[in-house]
Symmetry: C2
Subunit: 257 residues, 2 copies
Amino acid sequence: MNSSLQSLILDRPDLLRSGITSRNELLRELFAVPAIARELLPELKVVSLTVNEVLYEQGDKLEVVYFPLDCVVSGLSIMEDGTTMETSMTGREGLVGVSSLLGSGRSRQWVWVTVGGTAIQVETKFIEKSVLQGEEALKALLKTYRSLIVQLSQRCVCNTRHTIMERLCCWLLMIHDRVGGNNLSLTQEMIASRVGARRAGITVAAGMLQAMKAIAYRRGQLYIQDRPVLERTVCECYNLMRGDYKSPPPDYSAFSL
Amino acid sequence: MNSSLQSLILDRPDLLRSGITSRNELLRELFAVPAIARELLPELKVVSLTVNEVLYEQGDKLEVVYFPLDCVVSGLSIMEDGTTMETSMTGREGLVGVSSLLGSGRSRQWVWVTVGGTAIQVETKFIEKSVLQGEEALKALLKTYRSLIVQLSQRCVCNTRHTIMERLCCWLLMIHDRVGGNNLSLTQEMIASRVGARRAGITVAAGMLQAMKAIAYRRGQLYIQDRPVLERTVCECYNLMRGDYKSPPPDYSAFSL
DNA sequence: AGCTGTCGGTACGATTGCGAACATTTTTGC
DNA sequence: GCAAAAATGTTCGCAATCGTACCGACAGCT
């Protein structure tokens, strides 16, 4: 990173605090190109996203995109009967609102925050500009498209053929990968809407995981107690999806939250 | 279309016969840009794809892509237990092998031909060149990414929450949209592997559709007898996916097959 | 004509998960 | 402190689907 860029960053204590330069993998990749970094940097905004916050409704114009730092955002389909189902999740490995780029610019889904935290918000037009500027940004963004496609395909398979128990493990591991910590604020109701099952179904499966000492659960607080147990219980789907965003093990010791 | 382009096409009776200039919607869009048309035209190859032909295996390098004209190609996941499931299908509205563009260039899935027919084959590198050349090609291709994402999301929901009957209707309508005709060569075994159900389950559902006079079935030959009945029986998913590739009603009268 | 493999129809028990309750406990708001 | 709301635990009957198997019909081949 050259010195003019360095000074630009030093002017933004908010960004420094958020750990922007390394916590979102896609953003880090974009910033590896100095020209893009210089152009995007002044446009970044650190925002705090809270659980159940709605980022886009179906049909909304996508005017901003988000690079999650430690939050997880879900793409939800809401069916005619009112039940909701998560089809994808995005965390620090990707970008929320990719669909906005160079297209109709309207959301096809509801996009809700599943795990609250911090994200970098940028107006879509600035990202678009980077994409058209050079091959690097385009490649990085196409990679997130592909990542999304892999996730969607596998979840399609998983939801059709695997048990609630397996799907729950899968989902928990995916969340765990995206959040830096073992404590998760998640109600069973919420998990149910994400995994695509009844709340009562989650209660039973989560109960078994508790009995196996894999997780501990208490009123909206879920603690990942023994991840290896989850990894042994999960179906093949997890590893296939994981392979696509394989990231270095989270290490946040460098950041003061 | 300017005259030099015209003469280029006239030099290729094979392409003319295949109806290339209008039968694949994405290709038509790309050809609207004269520069791209001029560059791609000499590289196009008309190929005939037969049922169950494997276009890519998982891990294959994607060296060619296909623009289906009247065939349908499926992206399949093969699970550890050997069962297969379709997660996406592509016909004349799109491009097979999009994932190849500007990325690892390796397939993440098995890609099989579900309905045989004709397609235009192009080496990946030529398409890549077009994409990097101007915004139009990029936009057109990103649109197919989005289309794929919409299909995958909706199938994710559909497979999880809807009955085999609804899913079967959905799948048949999607195939029907992509093929110019009411006669389909499809065994129940094959449909089962696409819809993600047992063969016996398909027999029952297809039996009901026969009783409703929606389809007629005889040893690997399926005839769409009354499409409106299918449309009344299908779940909301079909229309949501359909909305994304809404194309003019197929009219092949202009082509001699 | 006879053999063989494919395809479709059918059956049956087992299982999973659903829909809809209701009970209990904890948190929250007043 | 108390009522209301939220979160979890539990139950029951039922529908959908699975796994598996068997049978008959048909098509292609010799």
